[in-house]
Symmetry: C2
Subunit: 364 residues, 2 copies
């Protein structure tokens, strides 16, 4: 094997320049020697997750992007609005390796996965069962561990059911399967009728469409039926988190005797784990005083449950990689292909059903 | 003593009518017999806390209030805007006893204290040290326990310093004294230069005026100096909570090596414990993923620390009632006096330095 490893390989880089400009390009980097607890992996498949796009695209205006370079070494530039530059000062001038995950034989977690070779810590590798492809393993980490992490968080924080937004996403469909297996009541929130149909066809008992005028009533009824007081919100912006808390409060106080100025004593929590809607989160606080909204991120959660917890969840993932935790991809592209304008535009939409798989082992 | 207790006494009531109308009046209620673990108290002094006004005024438009009744039995009516009625359906038609706290000989916690007599649970009584007046004891519970609760919460959740908004309030001045005694670094946020002067004269090391253009820079510097990652916000609405989190993140990431897409790993928390600003809370989420915003209320906090914790805090309060935990009042009024239009208007402003003490033992 060692004889096949080249001295140099390709890595996708994202560079923010002080003059409000994003550059995406492929860099030639040396293939390093792994340390004592590390392993060198050849990356054969790595997904483009919504959570990767913040680092990759840096809030740039993708619609105004332009392409340069050669087919083998494409380069993209795109202007970055002033408001997005505010949060980027720390990375100006430093080309960041992009991408997070991937695998064959092993699935591994880590940054900088949009590359041909990558050194990772042995403890972050998940050995793939026999007969699985790199594509099967490519989404073995973030989405499955996130779905399991939501249920784990629910149990740790004494809730009995879940609410999930953008519920027709790849992760949402996975969570829908997982919750049915684990007998966890799940309230799915979607934005379109066809997303509701998709989830109902996959056995979802509770689906609420936020585009319908009766959304708040539907949601309150579903919350009352499930007892859900914990939501995971992938959108982040706008009034959705506030609406969920308001409906949770309406559900919680409907069973109460009498009126309390401070609302129900039931703690209602929304964790924001994505930012599909970048506008500010607007909370009307029409839900008493027992509530919380906060960020939720996989890595600190894994730190909280410790190695033993991580191994337990990883084993659960390995057992269901082609079933419960299967992902599907709209397209597979090479590293140069990932830097085609039309593909970048498709990533940036973050629309349900447009998930891409990058295949760094392919030439073009 | 028993011979002096009348069969009936006065109680201030707040009634919401379905036709968007608030009524405030004095009701004659029977003086009941205390149960086994209860005590009947004669209420001599009870403060009008900002936290009492929600129940008392029910969001009514006080500027449009009108007065009726007699000097001894005044009655106030005021229109309630549609938006405020939304949260009031559960109390329509039920006259609520108003007010929360008080004492002489004992200070006690409980609702319905705007009354001449009141039965309370023995465990919620704090025996006042010799020589203290009813006015000294009247604010022995909510504000002191809230100030102590903030420091207690800071320690329980592994923070090392505090941020407090509306910091020139009665509670804010108390917290300023307490933090100096407890050597807890405190960042005070105020809205006016004279409030900054007041706190600095009382020994405050960090005071940031949100009306100044350099507010965000001042706040970030104070957060860096103190290491504060926990804030208690009395205002609730607008962008202040978001600004605090943004400055905490700027402070936390200034010491970091390198850039993380997800922001610093330091958890940043804002607890909203009041609603001086009723507009929505607007969060820009420009502060990474390790953050939380939530409601904070004294009663559930006391439930969390248990009886042993409550006794420890109560003893701390009793030792400092005329010093650390002293309150001052703009005016003292009788129960009928509390229903004078000009006094109600003064309560409703919730402005710093306008705190009222109700003296149910006085005739007018």
């Amino acid at each position: 094997m060692a004889a096949e490893i080249p001295a140099e390989s390709l890595q996708l880089r994202s560079l923010v320049r002080a003059e409000n400009m994003l550059e995406l390009f492929l860099d030639t980097v040396p293939v390093a020697e792994p340390g004592p607890n590390e392993v060198l992996i050849r990356v054969e498949a790595t997904p483009v997750n919504p959570s990767d796009l913040g680092l990759l695209l840096a809030g740039a205006d993708v619609a105004a992007a332009s392409a340069a370079g050669t087919p083998q070494r494409p380069a993209i530039t795109a202007p970055i609005p002033d408001v997005a530059m505010l949060g980027l000062t720390a990375r100006i001038g430093t080309p960041m390796p992009a991408g997070r995950l991937l695998g064959k034989k092993v699935a591994a977690a880590g940054g900088g996965m949009y590359a041909q070779y990558r050194i990772v810590d042995l403890s972050l590798c998940l050995e793939l069962p026999e007969g699985l492809s790199a594509a099967d393993g490519a989404s073995a980490f973030v989405n499955p561990m996130t779905a399991l992490g939501m249920i784990e968080t629910m149990r740790m924080e004494d809730h009995v059911a879940l609410v999930h937004t953008a519920a027709a996403s790849n992760l949402g469909q996975m969570l829908n399967r997982l919750c049915q297996e684990e007998q966890v009541p799940l309230v799915n929130i979607v934005r379109r009728p066809e997303q509701e149909e998709l989830l109902r066809a996959a056995g979802a008992a509770f689906v609420c469409d936020s585009s319908k005028p009766e959304f708040m009533n539907d949601l309150t009824a579903a919350l009352t039926a499930t007892g859900a007081t914990l939501a995971f919100d992938a959108t982040g912006g706008g009034v959705l988190a506030s609406q969920i808390l308001t409906c949770m409060e309406a559900s919680a106080s409907s069973g109460d005797d009498g009126y309390s100025r401070y609302g129900s004593a039931v703690h209602k929590q929304v964790y924001i784990y994505g930012g599909l809607d970048r506008s500010p989160t607007v909370l009307t606080r029409s839900f008493g005083m027992a509530w919380g909204v906060g960020g939720w991120l996989l890595t600190p959660f894994l730190g909280k449950i410790g190695l033993e917890g991580i191994i337990r969840l990883r084993n659960r993932v390995a057992a269901g990689l082609t079933t419960t935790f299967a992902s599907s991809y709209a397209a597979q592209v090479s590293l140069p292909g990932a830097l085609q304008l039309d593909n970048i535009t498709a990533f940036a939409q973050q629309a349900t059903g447009t998930k891409y798989l990058i295949r760094p082992d392919q030439e073009a």
